[in-house]
Symmetry: C2
Subunit: 357 residues, 2 copies
């Protein structure tokens, strides 16, 4: 793993070339293979072991980094190979991410229901249902336990919680099966074989070994900066602008039209972070601004999807008006979270804490 | 009207005494009688004339000021007289305020429904219903007209709007009748007679003519400052704290337990403003901070009551789930407004723009 420690601002450092990218890709491919081994050792197909969840997360983590770097540094790599493997890595990380997404969504919604009910404690079985029903057995992030379960929940909120639990647990169970099927498929084995090759041999173009990759990284950062500049940051920087609640009255689970540009910035921020890792090596200093901005955008995405799940649940036929009312409050609460996340992003983005490369 | 122009910070000004209070009360009593005459001239009992609405507002305005000054400067006034007239003035201004409150509440909720539906225009007949159905004929505050009425409203939002329109128009019509009855009652005539006496003769205590009223005004300001200090201003100063949504899941129209202290501050702010008027005379310089803070607290009260009205409507038996869902979103939106108003209050209260006396 000839990972180079490069500081592009250090004039005494050797020239930065495509070798930096090759080193990064080899390291990530090795991470991928290590995660895959861990997944098999922890009884992947049986499901449920904690190590398996960690392994799946590590697989997704390296798949995202390889795929992102292939995108940013496209001109330095063999085009045919790169265009073949990228969609496969995207399919893999998307498929493997669904189970955790449903689990986190249910947990977020049940916690919100309890917060909105004025209860500071969370019934253990409610959160337990969010994390114990689909076979991963992953421990919940230690929510406070309630002395009297469901003590403060209204009937409508309790019914709304049960409905969401049923719907999202079903979705999660399906995602779990789909993930296991994917990991056992010929399609996956083809990806794994390609990544195994990548761990020893990166298909750089002939020119890449002497090409400076920094302009490509700078272009990725510019795409991020331009996308952020196009966001309605003035609105987001104004608390309580109520923009995000617009379209909230229809229990319409389709993506909120205003959220798209923010989701896009989230992806561009990731690409920028990975490009920094390529240039600066594994000991890249943490850029607190990038970290905080990324967390705000994750929270934005999670709240946006949770709001859509509440709206979706409200379309269930024959639910009681009290259930629908609670889902309406819950939807609005999550759209409120969307706005709060935009505000947090805007707040942290305005201060340049660490100079980016 | 020997209203004195007093500047307590001006050492060349004459001594401030109870005469300042007497002048203020005589002036307010005269305003009250003028409004009453206007009300009778514009055909009060027939209802509906715009002049009548203005007259009722002016009646309430002076009744509040007389009542508030009697409270703050209690020790300077004949106790028996003061304790007799104050509850009657409070009854009067409360009774006369209800019709406008229901009208404004419906208008606020219908505007919110349209905003939440993503429509930037408001169907004329929806707002028309809010202002034309109860007999006052007061002009709406020029909302934008819609080309295609109800164009963007979902079925649930439209039904929720119709339900609120029905319930609040009924409440407003009843309040209108109650107001007319009150103005024709013996109880009202007794108050009016007392105010007529006040316009010529203020029952000051013998000592009041040589007593400085400023310590009593300072005490009123201290009660305000203490009440504000007891508010959770740190929470209110943090945008998107979601505190106000707590208890939102139960369609419970009872007063929100967290709102009380804010409503109390609103009343204390009024008393402070009236005490300033007593000391500084009718040409009291506008304190922008007090004005803005008062507007934020009015908005807080209005949103709090509108949220309760949405919750109340959600308890109507046999409504459709889509209607209940829309009312849940609407409730959460208005609780969001409550938080935004607290935030605005906190923001403006932190900056001392004008030194208060």
């Amino acid at each position: 793993m000839a990972q180079q420690h490069l500081d592009p601002t250090d004039p005494t450092a050797g020239a930065v070339t495509g070798e930096a990218l090759a080193g990064y890709l080899r390291a990530q491919a090795t991470e991928f293979l290590r995660a895959l081994r861990l997944h098999r050792e922890t009884g992947g197909t049986a499901g449920g072991a904690e190590g398996s969840v960690d392994a799946v997360r590590a697989l997704r983590r390296s798949a995202r980094r390889i795929s992102g770097s292939l995108h940013t540094f496209r001109p330095l790599l063999d085009t045919g190979w790169s265009e073949e493997i990228r969609p496969e890595l995207a399919w893999l990380s998307g498929t493997l991410g669904l189970e955790h997404a449903y689990e986190a969504r249910l947990e977020r919604l049940l916690l919100a229901l309890h917060r909105l009910s004025g209860s500071t404690t969370v019934p253990a079985q409610a959160v337990g249902a969010a994390v114990g029903g689909g076979g991963t057995g992953r421990a919940a992030p230690a929510p406070p336990k309630a002395a009297a379960p469901n003590g403060n929940l209204t009937v409508g909120a309790a019914k709304a919680g049960a409905l969401l639990d049923r719907q999202l647990t079903l979705a999660r169970t399906r995602a779990h099966s789909t993930g296991l099927q994917a990991l056992g498929s010929a399609r996956f084995h083809a990806v794994a074989d390609k990544v195994a090759l990548l761990a020893s041999e990166v298909p750089l173009t002939p020119a890449a070994r002497t090409t400076d990759p920094r302009p490509l990284a700078a272009a990725a950062e510019e795409r991020l900066t331009a996308a952020i500049a196009a966001l309605p940051l003035v609105t987001a920087g104004h608390p309580y602008n109520a923009e995000a609640l617009v379209h909230g009255l229809s229990p319409d689970p389709s993506p909120h039209p205003q959220d798209g540009p923010w989701h896009q910035v989230r992806l561009l921020l990731r690409l920028h972070r990975y490009a920094r890792e390529v240039l600066l090596g594994p000991e890249v200093p943490v850029d607190l601004r990038l970290l905080t901005a990324g967390q705000a955008l994750d929270r934005h995405r999670d709240a946006s999807e949770a709001a859509a799940a509440a709206a979706q649940a409200a379309r269930t036929p024959r639910i009681a008006p009290a259930t629908a009312y609670a889902l309406g409050v819950l939807h609005a609460d999550q759209r409120h979270e969307v706005e709060a996340a935009r505000f947090a992003f805007q707040q942290c983005w305005q201060k340049r804490t660490v100079t980016t490369p």
